[in-house]
Every structure is written in structure tokens, then in C-alpha cells.
């Protein structure tokens, strides 16, 4: 051990434990609670906001006015959400009984090492901790279950199965318009469940080919020559320049099935697509693309069986985790019709920027409580670094009751300040 290493090690030993709080021991009762109204947006995309259907607001949206400059009246979010969720031009396939409004409680704190966020919201039904499965039909492994907006689910051909999620989008002022219009900058016609672009059209598009993507996901206006047309993606080199200049928004998602069981939230960013950060994230597909069979199955000694059954679904925790209850798939294990395995396999062995965010969530008495820990000062090229004294713009979303894509409840943009005046003021921990 050389002298410098010794000094660093000593400093870490002395200072380390005092710098980072254990999120489980933070006294949240001392941290102010900010109630953020979330509402069902249906298909109110970037393009819809700029259409005549957004009555009396086109000029204002086009010139970059804030959504809240009009929608600031009492119960604005509740009124919009409860209207849209029932169906109409912005919701062509309403989900029966779906709630249009969710109140999200947000608390924030920080110390020298991390920022800590505590979120609470009431779920519409029971906790959504399952994800659709692969089910063996005697010949092939096929997807079983799906989110409530899927046609097969709405027609009763598949059961509603999907994980609950809590998402936070974050910018540090480098994305033009995010401070005013927040998440709506990323929500475009052509995305899944939002006038979904035809697969053939995506496959034939040069920009999408260059991005190596076969569907349209969230994107920022600056990634297109025409922000209202997903087909006009800028060259990869130009996207890289925008990214290097910080022209992306961070997207952190806590997932009840695919990240919570390993104590994490994923780390992504939106620019030309909804990307995951570099490195190895906590979940991966459980399907072998060549054999079309699962990659992993349950360890019968740990799980009690090598597979789930439809009868067990929803009654038994289905998480498949490497190093805990997963073993390599054995095609000769005597599979029978109805055997089910998770579509995703989880790991605690994350690597790089993809593994920055830790999170734990618990569901009690109809309410999720999620505590997210994000390191301060992240220097990765795909992260927005949180710093003491910094002010950021944030948007929130909750996916609840077995649903994904547009079926969330979202917030208008808010400010987050670390020790600085903002809508959500993170308190410095002693």
C-alpha cells in the first residue's frame, strides 16, 4: 500500500460512515411532505398539445408557455384525469374502473453522498408485483398475461398482469422547454399505445435503423429535425453531441417486479429513445432468442418447484433472481402444458451507470412506500448529477393496477432544490 492509497483508505475509514445516511433510519417525519397531483393523460401527446384539439392553447404551447400557466386552478389535475380516463378522443380504449387521479407524496433529503427520496401513493387495487410470464403450451413458450391496455386483455383473452412503477424524470436546465412542459416533451405520436407506428415503417426508417431500435419510445424534440415526427431522427453523431452537452433528461424508474426485489431502481435517460444507462442493469430478458426457450428456471429446492402454475400466479411471489432462486433452464426437465416462468430474470450484480439507483418499496394497507437513494455528483455521461445547492426540474409518474405505457398518472413539472428553495426542497440531513 503506497502512501496515497493509505491516506485515501484512512480518510474513507474516518469520514465514510458519517457521510451517508442509512435510508431506513432517516426520520422522515421531520422531512416536509409535498403532495403532487398526478392525472391520467390518455393520448395527450406533444403533437396533440400543439393541435387545435387543445383548445385555445396552441399558440401558448408553441411559444413554450408552461402547462401550469393555464392548468393551475384548484383540482385542475383531478378534473382532467377523471375526465380523460373515462374515454373519448384522448382515450380510445378506456379501462373500466380505472382511476384518473393519484396523489403522490414526495419527501426529499440529502447528505454529502446521496439524495434520498421517499414516495407514497395509494394503489387502486392490490400491489402489482407480477410481470407477464412465459407459459409452455405443450410446444412453445408464449407470453401469458399483459397490461390492461392490451387488446387481448381488454377482450378477456389474457389476464391483466403488470408491475407497478414509480418514475421520476429529471433535468438540470439543459433541455429547452422541460422547465415549462416537463414530461410532455418526451411523449409523442408513434410511441407504443400512442398511435403506435407500424413495425414496417419503423424498420424502414434510416434514423431508427441507425439507433438500432425497432419501435418508437420516448424522445426529446431536439433529437428530431421535426420534433412532431418520429421519422426525422438526427444522425447518431449529432445525437452524441447533444448528449455530451447534457441535452437529455434522466429517467429513474422503480419497478415492483423488475427492480424492487433486488433493492434497486433502474437508471435511464431520454434523448433519441428511452435508453438505459451504460453498464449492466438489474433485469434482463429470460428468453433465449435462438432457442426461443427461457434462459433460467426456478431452483426447485429454493422455490418449491421448477415453474409456476396459472393457479399460483398472483398468490405466490414470482421473482426469478440469479444467485437466489434461479438456475439455468433445462429443456429436458419434463415441461408440461401450463408451466410458467418469468419473462425477466433479475440480478444484484449490476455494473456501471445502470446500477446507480438503490430503492426499496413496501406495500402496506393499500399504499406503496418507496425510498430511492441516488448518489450525488454522478459523473457518468448519461446521468444528471445532483449537487448541494442545485435546482432541478422534475416530473413524476405512477403506473398502477396492471398497466403500462400511456396508462399512467403523471404530474406537471415541479422544481426540486437540494437545500435551495423549490417546490420540493430536499432537506440536508444532520
Amino acid at each position: 500500500m503506497n502512501k496515497r492509497t493509505f491516506i485515501l483508505a484512512f480518510a474513507a475509514l474516518v469520514a465514510g460512515p458519517a457521510l451517508a445516511a442509512d435510508p431506513a433510519t432517516i426520520n422522515w417525519s421531520k422531512i416536509p411532505v409535498v403532495k403532487i397531483p398526478l392525472f391520467y393523460p390518455g393520448q395527450s401527446s406533444y403533437e396533440w398539445l400543439r393541435s387545435d384539439a387543445h383548445k385555445g392553447a396552441v399558440k401558448e404551447v408553441m411559444r413554450g408557455d408552461a402547462c401550469l400557466s393555464c392548468h393551475d386552478e384548484e383540482d385542475a389535475e383531478k378534473d382532467i384525469g377523471e375526465k380523460l380516463v373515462k374515454g373519448g378522443a384522448l382515450e380510445p380504449t378506456p379501462v373500466k374502473g380505472k382511476n384518473g387521479f393519484v396523489e403522490l407524496s414526495v419527501q426529499a433529503a440529502y447528505d454529502d453522498k446521496n439524495a434520498y427520496f421517499r414516495y407514497q401513493w395509494k394503489t387502486h387495487g392490490k400491489a402489482g408485483i407480477e410481470y407477464p410470464y412465459y407459459r409452455y403450451d405443450g410446444k412453445e413458450w408464449k407470453v401469458y398475461g399483459g397490461p390492461r391496455l392490451d387488446k387481448a386483455v381488454q377482450e378477456g383473452k389474457q389476464p391483466p398482469i403488470y408491475e407497478d412503477r414509480l418514475s421520476m424524470m429529471l433535468d438540470d436546465g439543459k433541455v429547452a422547454g422541460f422547465a415549462e412542459q416537463g414530461c410532455w416533451l418526451t411523449c409523442h405520436d408513434g410511441e407504443r399505445d400512442l398511435k403506435t407506428a407500424a413495425k414496417e415503417e419503423v424498420a424502414a426508417n434510416e434514423a431508427m435503423k441507425a439507433y438500432k431500435k425497432d419501435d418508437v419510445r420516448k424522445y426529446l424534440p431536439d433529437s428530431r429535425t421535426n420534433p412532431s415526427d418520429w421519422k426525422t431522427g438526427k444522425p447518431v453523431e449529432e445525437i452524441a453531441k447533444i448528449k455530451a452537452a447534457g441535452g437529455f433528461v434522466d429517467l429513474i424508474q422503480w419497478r415492483a417486479h423488475r427492480s424492487n426485489p433486488v433493492g434497486m431502481a433502474d437508471d435511464g435517460y431520454v434523448l433519441e429513445w428511452r435508453n438505459f444507462d451504460s453498464g449492466k442493469k438489474m433485469f434482463d430478458s429470460n428468453l433465449d432468442k435462438e432457442t426461443k426457450q427461457p434462459k433460467f428456471m426456478y431452483d426447485a429446492k429454493k422455490f418449491g418447484a421448477k415453474a409456476m402454475s396459472a393457479k399460483q400466479a398472483g398468490k405466490k411471489e414470482s421473482f426469478l433472481i440469479k444467485g437466489v432462486n434461479a438456475v439455468p433452464f433445462d429443456p429436458k426437465a419434463g415441461w408440461k402444458e401450463g408451466d410458467m416462468l418469468p419473462r425477466y430474470v433479475l440480478t444484484k450484480d449490476v455494473e456501471g451507470s445502470a446500477g446507480d439507483n438503490k430503492a426499496t418499496g413496501s406495500w402496506k394497507k393499500g399504499m406503496w412506500t418507496v425510498v430511492l437513494t441516488r448518489p450525488l455528483g454522478l459523473a457518468n455521461g448519461d446521468d444528471k448529477a445532483l449537487k448541494d445547492g442545485g435546482v432541478y426540474h422534475v416530473g413524476f409518474a405512477v403506473h398502477d393496477d396492471n398497466i403500462t405505457t400511456r396508462g399512467h398518472q403523471v404530474s406537471f413539472v415541479r422544481t426540486l432544490g437540494l437545500g435551495t428553495k423549490a417546490d420540493i426542497q430536499a432537506v440536508r440531513l444532520p
Partner: protein, 116 residues
């Protein structure tokens, strides 16, 4: 009974919803707000903040002491006139979705009462 409900509504209105807006005899503030909200009036107007359109307090001040105020406001509610926005542009004013003159008068009177 009606008077009792009215009085309670006025108290609640002045104490909670619009502390800066005094109650005025003869005006059903609760009903006025409901009508305004139902017609998305608050998307462009606020009580005391400039939005796309002028604040209601500014409108009330403009017509203070002018007997034509109520008629002018009702004209705006019903005839879709071109009105000047706060950014200097002009747009057609939205027509309120009611044929009930009593409701419209109440809304106009409530707005005009906000100068106090």
C-alpha cells in the same frame, strides 16, 4: 333553508377558497365559481393573477363605478367578441355554456365584486 345554505357557502367561500375576495350580498359566489370552472374560465383568468387573460380583480377594477360593467361581461360570455389577451394578441372570447341569464348575471356580479 336556501338562505342558510347560501350563507354557509359564502362563509366557506370567503374563508377558504378566496380569502382575498369579500362576500357580496346577493351574489352566490359558490355557484359563480362552479359555472366558471365548468366552462374552463380559470384556464385563462385567475382571481388576482394575470394569466392568458386579465385577472378578475383587474376586470372588476376596470368597471368599478361603471353601470355598464355587468352588461359588458355578459356580452363577453354570450357573443364571442374579439378580446385582447395579456400578450397583446386578440382572440374570440369563449361562449359560456348556459342559457340561464340568472346564472350569467350572478357570474358577472361575482367578478365585479372582486374589486373590493
Amino acid at each position: 333553508m336556501k338562505h342558510k345554505i347560501f350563507a354557509t357557502a359564502l362563509l366557506a367561500f370567503s374563508a377558504i377558497a378566496f380569502a382575498s375576495a369579500p362576500a357580496v350580498a346577493g351574489v352566490d359566489a359558490d355557484a359563480a365559481q362552479k359555472l366558471a370552472k365548468k366552462n374552463n374560465c380559470f384556464k385563462c383568468h385567475a382571481i388576482d393573477k394575470t394569466k392568458k387573460g386579465p385577472s378578475y380583480k383587474k376586470i372588476a377594477a376596470k368597471y368599478k363605478g361603471k353601470p355598464e360593467g355587468e352588461a359588458k361581461l355578459i356580452e363577453n360570455f354570450t357573443t364571442e367578441p374579439m378580446v385582447k389577451m395579456e400578450d397583446g394578441t386578440e382572440e374570440k372570447h369563449k361562449v359560456i355554456d348556459t342559457k340561464d341569464m340568472k346564472e350569467m348575471k350572478n357570474l358577472a356580479q361575482w367578478i365585479l365584486s372582486l374589486d373590493k
